[in-house]
Amino acid sequence: MRLVALPRRRYREARYAYATVLPVVLLVALFTIYPLLFALITSLREVVLYRPWSQPFVGLKNYLDVVRSEFFASAWAHTLTFVVGAVPLATVLGFAIAHLLNGRSRLAAWLNVTILLPWAIPTVISGIIWAWIFNSSYGAFNGALYSLGLIDSYVPWLSRPRSALLCVLFAHVWKEVPLTSILYLAALQAIPDELYDAARVDGAGTLGILRRVTVPLLLPTTLIIVVYETMVGIVTFDLLYVMTGGGPAGATSLISYYLYNSMFVAYNFGQGAALAVLLAAALVVFILVYMRLLRSEEIYAT
């Protein structure tokens, strides 16, 4: 076999390409691959911060301990409840608000900016605001309900397991809806007017246009929103931390809170890393499903 030498120019181009890509590859390796490997290694060792002198290799023990823990099942149950509530609400409300904003109103530009405000507020701050609003002694929510005669005395919303989770869910949706609205708005504005005109000529009403034109064309955006909101829901932490501290009695401890608890409360970095790996694996599976669903041919074929 005879080796064919690359022409000099092609060789230079290839060298230039590698040289320009190399820094990015190094950065990715430093900030993504190294931490990932470090987490994997940590998850296979017993790393407890107050026993720094002993970090033996324990194989899959951390994974087994984490999965067998009573908290693991309850944290996933809370997480799934949270996600099942948050994703449809953020999606439907975002869709509805985007429709309102898409009107050719003179206020549209101003509204577009205003609607983004909750999203622009740091999550910790919005958590503090909502904790005040739902406060059982002086909260505005209780105040409003009391003024309207709907309650006889102030209700400790954040002290009851179900209502505490609902309050956090509400605060989460309030924070997420602006983003979903803007994404939907951008997608709506990209739909050519001709399609609507054609549908009207064919005799379609408002609902018909929505069902046959808008919804199918917004399907890729909907999928992106659903996937993004699911991932955000699963890893939600800061709102819980500020509003309820995971309580009462662990009722708002989602899986992310369990991870935090293992690492920064129990100081068990081995188990925390195992949980992080499991969480990342669950998200990767989810992303793969999403990648499959997002193939445009399949979407438009439906």
């Binding site: 107050y50 002694s137 002290s159 009851r160 309820t244 309580g247 009462p248 009695a249 920064f264 409360v265």
Partner: protein, 430 residues
Amino acid sequence: MHVRALVASLAVLMLTATAALGAAPVQLTFTVWSYSTDVILDNIKKFEARYPGIKVSLQDFAWEKYTDVMTARFVGKTPTDLAYSSDHWLQQWAAANWIVPLEDYFPQVKAYKPDFAPYAIEGMTYRGKLYGLPYYADTIIFIYNEEMLKRAGFTKPPATWDEVTRMALAMKEKKIVEYPIMFQFQDITPWYIEVFLSMVYSYKNYQMFDASLNPIFDREGTAAHKVAQWLVDGMRKHKIINPASLETTEIPLVKAMGAGQVAFAVLPKYNLADLNTPGAHAQAGKFKMALMPGETHGTVGFVRFYAMTKMAADRGKAVQDAAWKFLEYFGGKTDGKFVVVKRWALEKGLGFAQLPLYQDPEIRAAINKWGNVSLEEEQAKVARAKEALTPFWGTWSLEFQKEMNKALLGQKSALDALKAAAAKWKEMKK
């Protein structure tokens, strides 16, 4: 000649540079939880004026999040030289080698021991060595609103937990307040366990653990069981404990009490000074302390202290010297007096481990303005340090709190909650 001149100039330059470097101040980073930061900054200013060669940079974090922040700082090696610490974190922090025994670096610290209350020494000692000088030390006390109690027809504060129930029911019946009792029982607040233990320590057989540190608190009829059952009954049966206790932390509880929404609370003693500060609360001036209700009136004595980190120790002699000056100024004596500790006591009503201060007429007069110095001394005499402070104590306490809240929510019986908490302890002890 030119060469000589050049050498001489270089020598002068080097000397100047060395002198300048020598004069550069030692920079210390000091972390605290947010409480009266203005006073801390003023103390730092005075300290820096006294020691011009030392500069202190202050960083403060919320009390509820302090231990998380500090863990992240220690693990991430964020520069931290001096830090507030607490008896319930000492074992963890010391075992992890995040803070160092002061005795190893400053043997002169031992001379302070005779001045400190025994429970405070115990709270600052790990493996026989002293790790700190006290920022403040105090007891958990029972506080009541005297006017509300009188309106309910009582002239004396409750002496037992049954009396607390009886008085609270009377207040509820007379519609003085819907829920006369409130606690700070949010899942993660570090005060939760201290309040619970202070109630346990008010009984004769208060022990939670045996001599080998095995839990015994999960047996029927123990002091812990009595307290847990009293709390569950108070919340679920008698409805005298505010259900919002489960979302409440220290400051909201003090505010609710100050606003007249709470008649009885178990709180760290310094809150009494705040509650009775004229103008600070609607009900200011109406609050009094009573000995902790119960059989012995015992309670928890706790200590918060200044600690030096391993990071500071590793920075060398100059930093260690500066750190000692800081520690002694803030937690020890300056010109033979406990200057900073006395200031906290006078201005904020913080308790102190430095027993000679109880003889100080200024301090006695200051305490009597908002409290009762004799009663305070009496309560301090029956205070005890928390038992079984192991490296996993802080972690376990949060598990305990979560289980106890399940009982308060009616998801478990009081005894089952204690059994679950005991099981967690055994698991962590392995």
